[in-house]
């Protein structure tokens, strides 16, 4: 149903806000897509931002990222997701950050 989605199982669990960081420069063997993606995440960048800058759907970006993760060319930093019992110190940190806006 989704265009461009890889088969299940092939797909790493990548959230819209998983932070992606390049582990190294693009190797000689990298495809142009991979090289562009690696160039974008020299500093941490969310999957959503990668999708926006690359102008590619989220599902396509996750496929590209899965290849790069398998090749150990990028690192993925998982998001903090909602818990049944929210973490108060996390909420307090967010409130403190918003107060500075």
């Amino acid at each position: 149903m989704l265009t461009g989605a890889a088969e299940d199982g092939d797909r790493a669990e990548l959230d819209l806000v998983t932070l992606i960081v390049a582990r190294s420069d693009a190797p000689q063997s990298a495809t142009p897509e991979q090289a562009t993606l690696l160039g974008l995440c020299i500093a941490p960048l969310s999957v959503a931002e990668l999708s926006a800058y690359l102008n590619l759907p989220y599902s396509v970006v996750t496929v590209l990222l899965t290849e790069l993760l398998t090749a150990e060319l990028v690192q993925a930093r998982a998001p903090i997701v909602r818990q049944a019992l929210p973490d108060r110190s996390l909420l307090e940190a967010v409130m403190h950050g918003l107060q500075k806006l």
Partner: protein, 206 residues
């Protein structure tokens, strides 16, 4: 779907780079009908120019013109604007302005499941759009607050009348805002965080 060559891709400006210490992100969803002010709210608090992620849905019977009995597949492109607020050197908050129709929500895995909570933006000229959104969030156990975006030509209802009209429990915060103003949008987010904090204290998040 052509991949653009790297010389046509514009990445983030240097000043928009997150520090290498950024360890994890959290997200908040701003949900509401078309034209209610989602993009405006994202833009007013975001530290980066709002960006857009798109997803294409190819499905029979989903398109706008499927009531003509056509069997053809329709491709719908759904866009979501988002922004970012750095909380600390380690923690980043992302805000997603999400269309109100639930059938689009599945396009982005875990959009609501993982979110800390949601802001339901409401336009008093079109309250009925919000009923469905509120119901869906309740079903999914996503904690939310209501923000009434004040449009000059919108009817003004007392908060408790809105609560009754939307059939909301007494503890759910309802605030008025002007999505164009950073301080006002920030206060809406603070209201959500305060609500989540109260749920954490009482341990009553379902």
């Amino acid at each position: 779907m052509d991949f653009k060559s790297s010389d046509t891709i514009t990445g983030p400006r240097t000043e928009d780079h997150l520090p290498h210490t950024a360890q994890a992100a959290v997200k908040i969803v701003i949900v509401g009908g078309f034209g209610v002010g989602k993009t405006t709210m994202v833009g007013s608090v975001s530290e980066i120019r709002p960006l857009t992620t798109e997803e294409t849905m190819t499905q029979a019977g989903v398109g706008v013109d499927d009531n003509y009995g056509s069997e053809s597949k329709t491709a719908t492109t759904v866009a979501m604007d988002f922004g970012r607020i750095s909380i600390t050197d380690q923690l980043v908050l992302y805000l997603f302005g999400t269309p109100g129709q639930e059938r689009f929500w599945f396009l982005w895995n875990g959009l609501f499941e993982g979110a800390l909570g949601a802001v339901v933006l409401i336009d008093t000229r079109r309250l009925e759009v919000s009923f469905d959104v509120i119901g869906r969030l309740e079903e999914r156990g996503v904690p939310f607050v209501i923000a009434v975006n004040s449009f000059p030509d919108g009817p003004h209802y007392p908060i408790e009348d809105l609560r009754a009209a939307l059939d909301l429990a007494p503890e759910i915060p309802i605030v008025e805002c002007d999505a164009r103003r950073r301080a006002s949008s920030r206060d809406v987010l603070m209201t959500l965080m305060g609500f989540l904090h109260s749920l954490a204290l009482t341990g009553s998040l379902t």
